[in-house]
Symmetry: C2
Amino acid sequence: MQSPTLTIASRSHEYPVYIDQDIRFHTFNLINAQLSHPASAYMIVADKNVADYYLTEVLSSFPESKKPFVSLIPSGESSKTFDMYHQLLTEALENGLDRQSVIIALGGGVTGDLAGFTAATYMRGIQYVQMPTTLLAHDSSVGGKTGINHAHGKNLIGAFHPPAAVIYDSEMLRTLPIQEWRSGFAEVIKHGFIAEPELLDWLERNITDLSHIPSEKINELLERSIRIKAHIVEEDEKEQGVRAYLNFGHTLGHSIEAEVGYGHMTHGEAVAIGMSFALKLSERLLGSKLSYNRILDYMKTLGYSLQIPSGCAHDQLIVRMRRDKKSSHNDINYVLLHSIGQPQLVKVSEEDILRLLEEEGNLR
Amino acid sequence: MQSPTLTIASRSHEYPVYIDQDIRFHTFNLINAQLSHPASAYMIVADKNVADYYLTEVLSSFPESKKPFVSLIPSGESSKTFDMYHQLLTEALENGLDRQSVIIALGGGVTGDLAGFTAATYMRGIQYVQMPTTLLAHDSSVGGKTGINHAHGKNLIGAFHPPAAVIYDSEMLRTLPIQEWRSGFAEVIKHGFIAEPELLDWLERNITDLSHIPSEKINELLERSIRIKAHIVEEDEKEQGVRAYLNFGHTLGHSIEAEVGYGHMTHGEAVAIGMSFALKLSERLLGSKLSYNRILDYMKTLGYSLQIPSGCAHDQLIVRMRRDKKSSHNDINYVLLHSIGQPQLVKVSEEDILRLLEEEGNLR
């Protein structure tokens, strides 16, 4: 039997994270190693595109008598809606899922968030298992945040509901397009910035081309990055303190993503711009000496554009930052760095942000 | 400052229950005694009928700068829908509620369940306060169960999310119709049956007419009944064990309620029939000697009809029991009594239930 690569402690329970190639063929056994009672039924919520590649293989791990029901959802952020959430609840009811049943999320972050929120609120909460199929989802699959979007903004509706297990078959990442590698890799870099400068060195030495990463490097990358995330969420599951540091690069990143239009730029590519901006803001407001040029150059060689897109009006970016659920009434809560690996939450005035946005814009 | 009548320990935090006359006039202070940070904003979700009587008085306790937003919902079970849930989330967003805001549920169980589920999932969970205005809600206001209905059944969607405080102004019960007293009083009797025979004796001695209960008796009634409920949910918040005993009388009760049609019989009146049936089933299947005639006679003098309504087809009742989310695949999980105060969860075959239903039906 496979042993967990990591074990994560949530407030309610511990759960294993399995990271390895081809473990999708052992899904049934890995899940059941984890359950105190056998599940009464299984429902797989799968991203349609992912299902084309991997669903049959995942299903093959289940015995005939325990075959999961399957709900397919369209790829992309537009699936994180109220309507889709309601539809999944209805399908779960119509397929007879009860409190001893398990939902399996097979896909990227959207699938995990949506299926996780469905599990969190189905009969007041049933167990679910994350099977991330993107690099970006290494970030969202641990920590227990689940949720859907509202017309007024992303992730505004949700719950903290940690999974029963995370099964990360790194082989499933092989079919990812390069933009998706870049999207997820930005979160790996972020973990280096906020917690572990050595990770940044390791990345520079070991990963020079996102389209050709050897399998064992992918596994190590996932393990190192998830370990950092896990430490932070173990310390602060419900985002009252240090968990906010995970928002590094996201204040501006989210705003750019929304302003450019979801789907026109990946999450991580927007976060990369946000991190570059936050580094500069840190030097200016905290007097930090971050020597970030080398790492920004490294990011550019990987294909990141670190410029704020010319279509983004600066005042609109500010409006969006203000609306972010992490901001409190007037100032904007910004994660800045004292030094690489030493983040701090700082209330920053809109004027200071706007001034740097203007200067960066003029550099173009 | 008012001290709490009771303090209840949930898995995540302790919360006070205030029970007294006219404490609605101190709502603001009672809530703020409880918060670690001042709330950024307040939103009252109020039952329309209740609002007519008490909203102005509750609002008068808030300083001008902290006046709550108010969302009114129609009275009755039909408000516990997806649409109403979505509407409350939208109103919360449009009124600028953030993670430091507080939702106040002013109404009966429907209001508490709906507002509580909104709070449980708004920005992954914000605080809420229960202000029950019915006797029945003494039961649902503690324990942290929140939820809404689905076309396939009641309370199928929800979350465990204990309140920050319960503020129970017994004066607000004065305007309750007699059927509502009877509905809530059935849950008080239930607490006696499953945990405290002395409570039944106390009730028989002290409360002989539900339309005339002296104020101090109402306070004592609420405190005794909530204390029993609190002990049970403290031991088993997430319904893995003893919390199931609270389902005494509810297996058949829920089925009758659904079969007769919600609104045509109160919850508690249906549960009373269910309890009478469960007492008889206990004697038959466990060989218990429960001497229940005196207490059933007492219930009849209070106006309960303990007959299964003639319009309820017995096989339909069975179908509904089977669908109950507390039943596992084939048998029906039934709470029976060894003796008064000694419940046990028993898997009962559908045949045994049907046989007693037929016999009871023939007695009519």
